[in-house]
Symmetry: C2
Subunit: 208 residues, 2 copies
């Protein structure tokens, strides 16, 4: 039997966002590992390629001029300065995958997600939350790389960013990574059953 | 820890609909059996109570006058004549459960679902589909109670009703009952993570 319902006419962009310390990276990695139908978005950056990194896989490595050109041409879903470098999400890579029926996941901070919402509201927006603020602080402190000053800044930013949860479609509490991944998987499964992601449903049922 | 995210501020009404032969009853029963957080809506009817039936459980048994009064007062989410009797979905019963944070499932034909959509678009609408028309015919024929004439009518109606899938939020193909139930469960899980179903998310995270 032709199981047409297992293949969307069009995929979607899943924006997994939230404050630092919520555990976006961990949840995203675990999700990608478990789900073959989900692919990762690839960012563009102006920073230098490090040993072992592959262009088009880890990042699209581009010059500052090229990056600016992409912004000017509206080719970025979002972008930001981080220290001396630019990072952004090229629209074309993600949209091509979506058109092929794939689910493209984009792990990104709150500022980036809000930028995307303005230019591409068709994406699914998930806000990843810590169960409470103590746990959030613990996770930020747990990163050996942070100074006391940067911990304070991250914590304050996280507190402020929680206001934006109302802008998102869904929220998931990262109490345990396992449960958070399951919750995101349920959201993905549900979204795969959206009528709007399929063309010609009746025609498919009646076999035309 | 206070796992606030396991309790919605407000539940929702889940309308499980589709043509006859799609298997609404079977999927709905299996779903209710497996999921304690999901409750069934109770219809009102003017038909006589049969032995063993309980008022307020199987149906709300009401007089024709009372039924008409409920329609006139806008107390019905939908209603229909079936032979000499009236059947309808009283709004109050379902809405009270929703306000208590429960998920209320309503198994209903396409005409009824479309009526509900007009007066209560906050509900979640799922269209249950047969995998193909041969299977649908088999299922309709499989009901010993049907005459050849009524089989023909049901099949034609089903064919026509497939047009309305576009009006629904989600579709689920009832290829196997087990998978269909899983799909509906994913939709329920996802909808439980809707930001709009929770009040004061930030306040809950920061513990206020």
């Amino acid at each position: 039997m032709n199981r047409w319902w297992n293949n969307m006419s069009r995929g979607f962009l899943l924006v997994l966002s939230g404050p630092s310390g919520a555990g976006k990276g961990t949840v995203c990695d675990a999700l990608l590992k478990k789900n073959k139908g989900v692919v990762s978005s690839v960012s563009a950056t102006t920073r230098k390629k490090r040993p072992g990194e592959v262009d088009g896989e880890n990042y699209f490595f581009v010059s500052e001029e090229k990056f600016q050109e992409m912004i000017d041409n509206g080719e970025m879903l979002e972008y930001a300065h981080v220290h001396e470098n630019m990072y952004g999400t090229p629209k074309k890579f993600a949209m091509d995958k979506v058109e092929e029926g794939e689910i493209v996941i984009l792990e990104i901070d709150v500022q980036g997600a809000l930028q995307i919402k303005k230019v591409y509201s068709d994406a699914i927006f998930i806000f990843l939350l810590p169960p409470n603020m103590d746990e959030l602080k613990k996770r930020i402190v747990g990163r050996a790389t942070e100074t006391e000053h940067s911990i304070e800044i991250r914590y304050k930013n996280a507190f402020r960013e929680l206001d934006f949860v109302e802008e998102y479609d869904y929220f998931v509490v990262n109490d345990t990574v396992e449960q958070a991944v399951k919750d995101v998987e349920s959201i993905i499964e549900a979204e795969k059953h959206r009528v709007k992601r399929f063309k010609y449903i009746k025609e498919k049922v009646i076999g035309e």
